[in-house]
């Protein structure tokens, strides 16, 4: 099992994924790998390829917004609908589709997407996102993140 936190702590709520990984550092059972990445699809694919279970925690914006709301997805994350690439930012959905095309999906993928509100540069999560980080960290155990 691998837990992957996507994002950067230098952009406030974008640090939700890495914050979950940090919260797990002192209580990770043997056999669970922790990783933090920027969301670049090829890196995500390298991290999760061959894993029995990959848990990805990412911060997202949603419309309409409800900061701190947690969305969960099992094994089904669609393409981002844009259908094209602009810059490096292909997104998690594109990473999943690319991994499928290359047969490099983990056996099971579980995604926690935490809705953020402040993605500007700076340290610190907004209170609802910080609360959700604690909640998601508690949910992620080898038994608690079922495929």
């Amino acid at each position: 099992m691998i837990v992957i936190g996507v994002g950067t702590p230098f952009r406030h709520d974008d640090g939700a994924g890495p914050a979950v990984v940090d919260a797990l550092r002192d209580r990770t059972p043997p056999g669970v790998t922790l990783a933090v990445t920027d969301g670049e699809p090829a890196r995500l694919i390298e991290l999760w390829a061959g894993a029995d279970l990959a848990v990805v925690v990412d911060a997202v914006r949603a419309d309409p917004p409800r900061p701190g709301r947690v969305h969960e997805f099992h094994d089904a994350v669609a393409d981002d609908g844009h259908g094209h690439v602009t810059g490096h930012g292909l997104g998690l959905g594109a990473a999943v589709e690319l991994a499928r095309a290359l047969d490099r999906m983990p056996a099971h993928l579980h995604v926690y997407a935490i809705e953020g509100t402040d993605f500007s540069l700076g340290l610190g999560l907004t209170p609802p996102v910080a609360a959700s980080v604690r909640r998601v960290a508690d949910l992620i155990t080898p038994d608690g993140a079922p495929p």
Partner: protein, 430 residues
């Protein structure tokens, strides 16, 4: 996509970062009046964030400016701080830095060539579509990228935001035996890199020529971790004169600063590096370049994909050379005692010249920091390239014009964090 608890959402409404880059094109009667690229630029934040911090911190902090080129930020930061402290890192430690940088070039260029740029030339809307149609090709690209990753993981401690780099050298240096498996990987990668040059050389390239001044580092070797700045028309200056020649100014339409070189629009990156340094390539890389039709400086931005592929060949060969000659240094780092002073560092990030300047007080606290990333320098050149393609394609509808503009931008590989994410295009034409 399903949402487990309350309703269905599309990922299109869930994006990590969006709306921070925008492209605006205004035409009147078929003539291009204005092209503006609005990019978001984190270095300003990091410059402020660094003030008052210890002189040992910039390599770790600035590595987080960019997920794609953290090594570049670390190398320019280390070099600038060591310069301020009157220390020069040489010999094996510098070779290890160069080796780490080779890893970043291989990884970054392979990503750009295969997942971002090649689909443009082959008529696929994305890497996903390319992967579905040509799985072995994309697998070759990922294998190349992974070879670079292996270097980053060994020397940097991890591939993303490497943690093993410090002012003066490294926290830990590898044993020779640790490098040998990577050499095996790199020997296989060299075949893939050469095949990549041959592959991209066969693409169809729009007939476009630009006239930007080219700025790159140069020295005894093809430039990565250091050297002297030089333009393709022979203006040369050292790192400490960077601020005299490259001047940034605010433009109303962008949070990023626009930089000019002695008042001229300029370009850094593979095309500039190759123009200034093509004679410093290894024989194999130079031969691949010639076979791909690159004879001396190239002024077609679309052909930058060939130059990147040639640079991957060079980086793989250079990595193998460094590994072959490697014997561990006596210490993983040299001492860098703090002192009051100003230091400058310039290295060649995959997408161009990256400049850092630090002013330290006697206790080693940072009084001032300045970071000039390649994409900020390239912004005016990118806008000019877009002006050219919009002018050449007056009859395209907005969707087709967007695609053309995105291609023109991708030619210069702007960095996700240094520059553009998720560009929104506005076309105003009457």
């Amino acid at each position: 996509m399903t949402h487990q608890r309350d309703r269905t959402l599309t990922v299109g409404a869930l994006a990590r970062v969006e709306g921070e880059g925008a492209l605006y094109v205004r035409t009147r009667g078929g003539a291009v009046e204005d092209v503006r690229l609005n990019i978001y630029e984190p270095p300003r934040f990091f410059e402020a964030f660094l003030r008052g911090r210890a002189y040992t911190e910039p390599p770790d902090i600035t590595a987080r400016i960019c997920g794609i080129c953290p090594v570049a930020y670390q190398m320019s930061a280390c070099q600038a701080i060591e310069d301020a402290c009157g220390v020069r890192v040489e010999g094996t430690l510098n070779e290890l830095r160069r080796l780490l940088y080779c890893g970043e070039w291989i990884e970054s260029h392979a990503l750009h060539i295969y997942l971002l740029h090649a689909p443009d030339f082959l008529g696929y809307p994305s890497a996903l579509h390319l992967a579905r149609a040509h799985k072995p090709l994309v697998e070759r690209g990922l294998a190349l990228k992974k070879a670079g990753n292996a270097l980053l993981e060994l020397l940097g401690g991890r591939a993303i935001h490497p943690i093993n780099v410090k002012v003066g050298g490294f926290y830990r240096v590898p044993a020779r035996a640790e490098l040998e498996p990577i050499a095996d990987t790199l020997r296989a990668a060299l075949d893939d890199a050469l095949a990549t040059v041959e592959w991209v050389a066969g693409f169809d390239f729009p007939d476009v020529t630009h006239d930007h001044a080219y700025l790159a580092l140069t020295g005894d070797r093809y430039p990565l971790e250091g050297g002297t700045l030089r333009t393709d028309d022979g203006v040369a200056f050292p790192a400490e004169r960077f601020g005299d020649h490259v001047v940034e100014s605010q433009v109303p339409h962008s949070t990023a600063l626009h930089a000019t070189l002695d008042g001229r629009r300029h370009l850094t990156g593979p095309l500039a590096r190759y123009a200034v340094n093509h004679e410093r390539l290894t024989p194999v890389a130079a031969g691949a370049a010639r076979a791909a039709g690159l004879d001396g400086p190239c002024r077609n931005p679309f052909r930058s994909i060939i130059v990147r592929a040639v640079e991957v060949v060079y980086a793989v060969e250079e990595a193998l050379r460094i590994i072959d000659a490697y014997a561990p240094p006596p210490a993983p780092a040299v001492p860098v005692p703090a002192r009051a002073g100003v230091g400058h560092g310039v290295t060649e990030a995959p997408r161009g010249v990256l400049y850092h300047r630090y002013e330290l007080d006697a206790d080693g606290l940072i009084a001032d920091a300045r970071i000039v990333p390649p994409t900020a320098q390239n912004q005016s050149a990118i806008e000019e390239d877009m002006r050219q393609v919009v002018t050449a394609n007056p009859d395209l509808d907005d969707a087709a014009l967007t695609a053309v503009c995105e291609r023109a931008i991708r030619n210069h590989d702007p960095c996700i964090s240094c520059a553009a994410h998720f560009l929104d295009l506005t076309v105003d034409r009457r």
